[in-house]
Symmetry: C2
Subunit: 220 residues, 2 copies
DNA sequence: TTGTCATCTGTCATGGACTGACATAAATTA
DNA sequence: TAATTTATGTCAGTCCATGACAGATGACAA
């Protein structure tokens, strides 16, 4: 890696660290891009060459984790039931997150605390998850050989499990957890959701209209 | 109602209609507040006296519906199981939405189309649902006599059902539904989620730590 | 080492979403 | 009609974000 690339990487990290330090002291909203740039002795215009927006910086570290889930699901054996495969994939994701975070626990928790403290940030974070959800849905549909546009079940399953995860993060945030507590809470909620769904999910069937079997319904 | 109040109401509606007409033609992002204000012959500053933000205007009509859910849940008989009560409350919400929308179907669908076309808008919409989710969670916890801070089950249940609704709206948006199709899709997904949860949900129990029973876990 | 090239950065100008302050115009009420 | 309340317009300013251009700096070959 050349000097140029090293410098860029350095500036990037410096911006992130300076930003989160300011976020923790002043709050996310109250911190301006100018302040962050000034703290790193860089022009505000340069800030936007490293990050598309202030939100991008704040949510930067969540991106890598989302990719982990899709690869984890793809690695599950073909015969595994959808719910089991998805739940396992998410558990692996959690383990990966734990392992990565352990490298620099302080920074990880700092980031989580900032995000958890800002509903708007939290919301955008899960909104960006939509892309990942689509990939997971496509993978589940592929495994079952169904059309993801016609069969809402894979999509629903992904949405349900994802929301369980979300609740896990929320609970952990409320309880002001350390890394262990965070992982515990998220895992627990995932297990809870899986336990609730396991008895019913396997029997779910669709009507001929491509909608739910439990009720004759509009073709949409 | 005095002249003053009538005028305000009129201006408010005019802003909404002008805005959505512009949104449909130019897109939400490409439409500026100045354009909306100009279309109604009002200063841009006045726009912000009617709506806190451009997003507020775009999501305005969703607010009234969210209130319906909480009142619908509160009206369910005390003995009803949590899942059944919540599902029924949401079904009543859907019926109410259908009835209200029937008054002015065109405007309703216009609004939905704009929101569905903008991921950011859609995300913010469901993010704002968080407030409603809290109320629903509190009501479910009250019914069960549990502490919402310690027992994550009501919260999880609300999150699961809400996400089913979200998927229903998404499916309807993709299929470019009319009002009937929209209601059908959302109802179907709600039924599907209820069917998936009914067998397992009643048996869900918690461990002594306030976490999930299926696994000994961290106190958080 | 030197000169060329690609790329990073700062500066400047601009636009769009908001907000506070203040004056004016309009409706309400007495 | 006079006094009061309230809505609106104007103005100035902040913050986020982006395009354009020029200068600085690292990469690389001769």
């Amino acid at each position: 890696m050349g000097l140029r690339e090293r410098k860029k990487h350095q500036t990037r990290l410096a911006l992130i660290d300076a930003a989160f330090d300011l976020f923790l002291v002043q709050g996310y909203e109250a911190t301006t891009v100018d302040q962050i740039a000034a703290a790193v002795d860089v022009s505000p215009r340069t800030f936007f060459r490293y990050f598309g927006s202030k939100e991008d910086l704040a949510l930067d570290f969540t991106v890598e984790y989302e990719e982990l889930v899709t690869t984890a699901l793809a690695a599950r054996p073909a015969g595994e039931a959808p719910l089991a495969a998805l739940a396992t994939a998410f558990r692996e994701f959690i383990h990966q997150m734990e392992a990565n975070a352990a490298d620099d626990t302080e920074r990880f928790l700092k980031h989580r605390r900032v995000i958890d403290a800002n509903p708007a940030l939290l919301a955008t974070g899960f909104a960006r998850m939509a892309e990942t959800e689509k990939k997971l849905t496509a993978e589940l549909a592929r495994r079952q050989g169904t059309d993801p546009a016609a069969d809402p079940r894979p999509r629903l399953l992904v949405a349900l499990i994802t929301s369980a995860l979300r609740v896990g993060f929320e609970c952990a945030a409320e309880r002001d957890c350390q890394l262990v507590g965070l992982v515990g809470n998220v895992t627990d909620l995932l297990n809870l959701a899986e336990a609730a769904l396991t008895p019913g999910w396997g029997q779910l069937s669709l009507g001929s209209s491509g909608q739910v079997a439990t009720k004759a319904s509009s073709p949409g």
